[in-house]
């Protein structure tokens, strides 16, 4: 078998980077996993996710297993608290500069996998009108995850459990004015998952989901959407909310029930904004650093010359995983991580012939 002793550099220690590192190692190639934070686990860890959409697995436990698999693998070297600050060379032998605190050092990598992921849309930005930063009882999916994790689903204004909770979909997605024209793909499923969890923790709460379209791909339809509606009695209302007004110590949400063609004004205790995805600051930074083409939203351009390779970037020998290239759920992330690992190892070995 051809060998290239230089490791595959994996940038980002979230689910995508972890899965890529594990797969690279399982193919017999050393992996060097670099993570800017001091912990592995990525956004599910940093944002205190409660449960994953996959079988409602406990996020900490599921991601913890992945982290353990990677850190115990002798072929994977993990550098946390470390950033990539420079890169030159080409496929087969990239010369990268890593910085940890004040110290920098050089490493040689055969190929590179970028798994720098996404960040949640900030609803305080741009044309938002939901008063996220003014009304304490307007929260985001991320805020709700953290509350669900600690079993403390309350109205931040008074610490009391809410009687009525409303999710508003498509916040920061599918919007030309904001500039995020894409569908963030996961928010419909996450909102439905959270609605179920809220009902599990607060069985007497009434939960509404106000939506434009419910986009429940594949099995999310029967695993999340139908149980939420049929078993947990979540109210799905087709009609998006335009504004939230204070009403005493509650919130009045105003929208249109589009199937009835009538205005609606619903009083609730807690509003959850289903914020979408944006490329993370790390994704933007690493894309620039490595000279990778980005699309107009800042995601790393993927597809390659054929348009059919979801992990190819504009630079040979550099591959991209999951939400660094597009809004992605965990299935997308794991699938592209495995593919990127295979491509990276194959490219490393081919390059070994010519080097």
């Amino acid at each position: 078998m051809l060998q290239n002793g230089h490791p595959v550099l994996i940038i980002g220690g979230g689910p995508g980077g972890l899965e890529a590192a594990r797969t690279v190692a399982s193919l017999g190639q050393p992996a060097l996993l670099v993570e800017r934070r001091n912990r592995l686990g990525g956004t599910p860890d940093a944002e205190h996710y409660a449960k994953l959409t996959h079988g409602f697995r406990d996020a900490e436990e599921a991601i913890g297993e992945l982290v353990a698999a990677v850190t115990s693998d002798p072929l994977v070297e993990v550098l946390t608290g470390t950033e990539v600050v420079a890169c030159d060379g080409e496929a087969g032998a990239f010369h990268v500069t890593l910085r940890r605190g004040q110290e920098t050092h050089e490493r040689v990598a055969s190929t590179i996998i970028v798994a720098t992921g996404f960040q949640h849309f900030d609803p305080g930005r741009e044309t938002q009108m939901y008063n996220y930063y003014s009304f304490p009882d307007v929260v985001t999916l991320g805020d709700m995850e953290a509350m669900l994790k600690t079993h403390q689903v309350v109205r931040p204004s008074n610490g009391q459990p809410p009687e009525r909770v409303a999710f508003i979909q498509c916040v920061g997605s599918r919007d030309r004015q904001i500039g995020n024209e894409f569908c963030s793909k996961v928010c419909c499923g996450i909102a439905s998952k959270q609605a179920i969890e809220i009902k599990q923790q607060l069985p007497h709460a009434r939960v509404f989901i106000f939506y434009i379209d419910m986009r429940m791909y594949g099995y999310w339809e029967n695993e999340l959407y139908w149980p939420a509606q049929e078993q947990y009695k979540v109210n799905y209302v087709k009609g998006i909310v335009s504004e939230i007004l204070p009403k005493g110590d509650k919130l009045l949400i105003r929208g249109e029930d589009t199937t009835m063609g009538r205005p609606m004004e619903v009083t609730v205790d807690l509003v959850v904004l289903s914020v979408g995805m944006e490329p993370s600051s790390g994704t933007r930074k690493v894309a620039k650093l490595l000279g990778l083409a980005q699309n107009k939203y800042g995601y790393i351009e993927a597809g390659g010359p054929s348009g059919l390779d979801p992990v190819a970037t504009s630079r040979p020998g550099v591959f991209v995983v999951g939400a660094a290239a597009r809004p992605a759920d965990l299935d997308d992330t794991f699938a592209t991580a495995g593919l990127a690992a295979a491509r990276a190892v194959a490219t490393a070995r081919r390059a070994a012939v010519s080097v």
């Binding site: 009108m129 498509c170 599918r174 004015q177 434009i212 998006i240 335009s242 929208g255 589009t258 205005p263």
Partner: protein, 435 residues
């Protein structure tokens, strides 16, 4: 549910009907209009979207965000996204009363994720309706004819446009008389020149300008309507004629800036006149007075024991981004209490006068459970205010009528910011200057 509500559209009754000897005249034989939708067609969407400026009509994805912020939907069964849906199901916007209900207030565009722009779609569609010979509402027709004939929608003689000046009590220089350059050309506009309550505000403003020692002048009888609302009502040809004439008149005189009373004129000068070669530095009077606050403030000596609320004009706020200047002026008034209405600033509720609405009140009345101005007055009353402060000349007559029709006469007064400032300066009394 209000039991007196009855939807009359699409309902038919035969006055006289005897079936098998049974009299079922009137409501007993009530028939309903077509309920089943037969077909979905792109043609009537294209009919609008193919008009220059109206392309975005076809972009709607039916999310419905526009409907709750649409001031017309609040009082009737109308909503921007419904126009697309109706077109899809075979109802032409050009033949629908919906065509004349939009006030171009721009609140739908503010929240629209697809940037469907009714401010451009409506004038384009209305122009198309006119060009294709469809009848337009009679009252609008009259206002447009008046504008074409007299240069103002009220049908007043042009020479009377400067008549208010003799009541001003301070010198109001008229440019064709003084023959010298001025720093500020004051574009008074139609309602502030002719309407009695508009004149009250003009007199107040003239006295404020005079007290500040502002070097200003007006065009008087040479001024014609800036024409923006006529343009938005679909009469682009008339607007172009007015713009060209006004630009020609303005070119005769030397001035540094234009100060306008009317936010609709502000909009025309800022966004439309440059297309016809008229480039000016244009200010709304609230912006100018807010800038002059250091000199104005010491003159505000009288206590005003009023509880105020303020209505943001669509064409000053959403269309031209000025929300702060009127509030700075209100806060400078000694002794007043100020409360915002729930729908304020970017989300201000339209008075119903924009986009030709000023001349469509009867037409709209039959299609709405109450006027937009009435809806707004009720919101103002609910704040506990005794005075509704305005700074757009369309509003004083609209809101004063609405105060009466909603039974709040004597409980809510409608006053221009200029009137309140002038009162605080001791330049006018508590009653309108000319009353």
């Amino acid at each position: 549910m209000d039991s007196s509500l009855r939807k009359v559209q699409d309902v038919w009754e035969q006055d006289t009907a005897i079936v098998e000897g049974v009299d079922i005249s009137g409501p007993w034989n009530r028939m309903f209009g077509q309920r089943v939708i037969w077909d979905y067609t792109p043609e009537l969407i294209d009919e609008i979207a193919s008009l220059p400026g109206a392309e975005s009509f076809a972009w709607c994805y039916q999310c419905g965000k526009c409907v709750p912020v649409c001031p017309v939907d609040v009082v009737g069964d109308y909503g921007p996204r419904k126009l697309y849906r109706k077109a899809q199901t075979g109802i032409s916007l050009l033949d629908s009363p919906d065509l004349w209900l939009c006030t171009t207030c721009m609140n739908c565009l503010r929240v629209c994720p697809k940037q469907v722009d009714m401010v451009q779609i409506m004038p384009a569609a209305r122009e198309q309706a006119l060009l294709s010979g469809r009848p337009l509402p009679a009252e609008l027709q009259e206002a447009l004819e008046n504008t074409a004939r007299y240069g103002n929608p009220l049908g007043q003689p042009p020479r009377k446009r400067e008549a208010w000046v003799k009541d001003a009590g301070v010198p109001v220089p008229i440019l064709h008389q003084i023959q010298r350059p001025v720093e500020w050309l004051w574009w008074v506009e139609c309602y502030p020149s002719y309407h009695p309550r508009g004149i009250d505000a003009s007199i107040a403003l003239a006295r404020i300008f005079h007290a500040l020692g502002l070097d200003f002048g007006i065009l008087g009888r040479e001024e014609k309507c800036a024409g923006d609302s006529q343009r938005l009502a679909g009469e682009r040809g008339l607007f172009e004629m007015l713009a060209e004439e006004n630009i020609r008149t303005l070119s005769k005189y030397e001035f540094h800036h234009i100060v306008v009373t009317d936010p609709h004129a502000l909009n025309a000068f800022r966004k439309q006149y440059p297309k016809y070669g008229g480039q000016y530095d244009v200010w709304h009077y609230t912006t100018l007075l807010a800038r002059e606050l250091p000199r104005l403030r010491p003159l505000l000596t009288r206590q005003l024991p009023y509880r105020l609320t303020f209505h943001d004009p669509c064409y000053l706020g959403r269309h031209n981004g000025e929300y702060d200047a009127p509030r700075q002026l209100i806060e400078a008034l000694p002794g007043v209490e100020f409360t915002e209405m729930p729908r304020c600033r970017q989300n201000s509720y339209c008075c119903g006068g924009g986009g030709g609405g000023m001349w469509l009140d009867s037409f709209a009345a039959g299609r709405q459970r109450r006027r937009l101005s009435e809806e707004r007055v009720l919101e103002a009353v609910a704040t506990g205010a005794d005075t509704l402060v305005i700074c757009c000349p369309y509003e004083v007559s609209r809101f004063e009528d609405a105060v009466k029709s909603t039974g709040h006469e004597g409980r809510l007064r409608v006053r221009d910011i200029a009137e309140l400032l002038a009162e605080a300066m001791g330049l006018i009394g508590e009653e309108p200057a000319k009353a």
